[in-house]
């Protein structure tokens, strides 16, 4: 089984996040992974006790748009608060293609390197989102993607509008 998983480690000023396997919305089990990542980032951004985030995608096999949106959130926060772009490690051509397609090569520092910078990592604490929180996670992730460039906006406009309606209806 190739369900997605996210591990993390802390070293000096650097927080390392490693994405493993399929981080896909449609994949079974990855909703909880995405929820855990979202909760972790929320906490991290509140604590603000780091200087740098490094995304290790060397063991990722695929990434969905919600995860891409969370990644966009990460580099945006890093640039705003620490004046740095987030570094992405990747060795997978498919992943590279996906990242380039949403223009991430301009907002991240892309490094092609197979070896992980951190051998010892631990799993993110589990988070259980309610449906409403889940929708809002997906929505903000895609809003983030849309803000990056015109092409993303065109790609995700429909989804964002639909989710916005659903959120408004729920409230």
């Amino acid at each position: 089984m190739d369900t997605g998983n996210v591990l993390y480690a802390r070293q000096g000023n650097v927080v390392v996040l490693r994405f493993v396997g399929k981080l896909g919305f449609a994949e079974s089990g990855s909703r909880s992974t995405t929820a855990a990542l979202n909760a972790f980032l929320k906490q991290l951004f509140e604590a603000k006790d780091f200087e740098n985030i490094l995304l290790d995608l060397t063991e990722a096999t695929s990434i969905d748009s919600t995860t891409l949106g969370l990644m966009a959130k990460i580099t945006k926060f890093s640039m705003e608060h620490f004046g740095r772009k987030t570094m992405i490690l990747s060795m997978n051509e498919n992943i590279d293609r996906i990242l380039e397609s949403v223009g991430f090569d301009r907002v991240f520092v892309m490094v092609h390197e197979a070896a992980s910078p951190c051998p010892d990592m631990i799993a993110l604490p589990a988070a259980n989102d309610s449906d409403r929180e889940w929708i809002s996670t997906v929505l903000t992730a895609h809003q983030e993607l849309c803000r990056l460039n015109e092409r993303n906006y065109a790609t995700f406009k429909c989804l964002v509008e639909m989710l916005e309606k659903e959120t408004a209806a729920a409230i």
């Binding site: 000096g12 780091f50 200087e51 992980s116």
Partner: protein, 392 residues
């Protein structure tokens, strides 16, 4: 960590180095420079910086080698890599080796450098603090361990003394047999007993229960033993009669303990057996349960109520007498025995004890057996049995 913290920049590009140093110096840091890895390593050893900024690509000794050395020599010193964008794989390698952060050259915004340095120093301070707490904790623990060991050695010494003071048993003399059983609850016993020949026809015995345990209780038993042997000597050498008179012995020990302010007291039963006259003279200073006298037909308590020894200045005691003709046993208990008897009421426990003695006039070994004194894993109080058995 120094105040202000000392920062070493190892960088072969002079302009990059200077711009960082000027900025950090203006921010209040003490700054040191090294133009290559070799000089950098020397300065690390001589100047012990609180934080190291280090380029990766340098002639002679490169940044990864410097990092390797720093991790070996001073693993908790923050090490921040400052590198060109072309060296990204080396940056990853540096992180793998334990670098704290990495900055990209050229550093366009010096605020980023300031931020990274501040954060790293903050973390280093926390690590140092935790280490100090840990060391203090370890040191305190070691001191506690030592004093505990000291205490244990003291108690062991006291315990050895106390056990050495106990008489041999069983002890057969004339047609009498003395025997006892002591089971201690804590490391040190508060119970003590002794028996001894006074002259051709007379023997003395006592059983005592000192309040509390520990070394000071053991010292009280030493005092008991030495007081009684002094009285014995005085009798043998000068015919001073005190040791023959239970009430006098108890009041003498009472005064000795009150006077010395031991803050300890004891219950004590003291008796003198005169085999020629067929008389037991005894006095009980608060010792409970009462001794049980078995005349060969039936057992009964020797009820005698007096104040314990060592509580009140000038306590007086009265000696009682008991005449015997044939065989008899006199059995004394410490109150610890009550704790193991299967009842909640003291009168019931007393009745139980008496019925045990009535059932065949058991000796010490049989009593230990029928009362189950060795069965429980732990007893709440010391348990002592002392028995004098007269045959014939």
């Amino acid at each position: 960590m120094r105040n202000p913290p000392r920062i070493l920049s190892i960088e072969d590009e002079a302009t990059v180095r200077r711009s960082m140093m000027v900025y950090l110096s203006d921010s209040g840091y003490e700054v040191l420079e090294a133009e290559n890895g070799r000089i950098g390593l020397e300065r690390i050893l001589t100047d012990q910086p609180d934080l190291i900024l280090c380029d990766l690509r340098m002639p002679e000794v490169d940044g990864l080698k410097v990092l390797d050395e720093v991790k070996r020599l001073m693993p908790d010193t923050p090490f921040i890599v400052v590198s060109g964008t072309g060296d990204m794989r080396d940056v990853i390698q540096a992180l793998r080796l334990g670098a704290w952060d990495y900055l990209m050259k050229p550093i366009e915004d010096m605020g980023v450098l300031d931020h990274a340095v501040t954060r790293a120093l903050q973390q280093a301070r926390l690590i140092q603090q935790n280490q100090r707490y840990h060391e203090e904790l370890v040191a305190t623990n070691r001191r506690l361990q030592q004093s505990l060991q000291q205490l244990q050695e003291d108690e062991t010494a006291a315990r050895n003394i106390q056990f050495q003071l106990l008489p041999q048993h069983p002890w057969a003399v004339d047609d009498l047999v003395f025997d006892y059983f002591i089971r201690t609850s804590a490391f040190l016993s508060g119970d003590f007993l002794d028996y001894f020949r006074i002259d051709d026809s007379r023997l003395g015995l006592y059983v005592a229960d000192v309040s509390g345990h520990g070394a000071s209780s053991a010292f009280v038993t030493v005092l008991l033993k030495s007081t009684v042997s002094r009285l014995l000597n005085e009798y043998r050498e000068f015919k001073i009669q005190t040791v023959l008179l239970p009430d006098r012995v108890l009041s003498l020990i009472n005064d000795a303990i009150v006077e010395r302010q031991f803050n300890k007291y004891l219950t004590m039963f003291y008796a003198v057996v005169d085999t020629a006259a067929g008389i037991v003279k005894y006095c009980n200073a608060g010792h409970f349960p009462y001794p049980i006298y078995h005349d060969g037909h039936a057992a009964r308590f020797l009820e005698d109520r007096n104040l314990p020894v060592g509580l009140f200045d000038g306590s007086t005691y009265a000696t009682k007498e008991l005449a015997f003709q044939g065989p008899f046993t006199l059995t004394m208990f410490s109150d610890g025995v009550l704790e193991v008897l299967p009842s909640d009421l003291i009168p019931e426990k007393e009745a139980l004890l008496l019925s045990r003695m009535n059932a065949g006039d058991p000796d010490v070994e049989m009593l230990v057996e029928t009362l189950g004194l060795t069965q429980q894993d732990q007893v709440p109080d010391d348990i002592t049995l002392l028995q004098l058995r007269k045959g014939g």
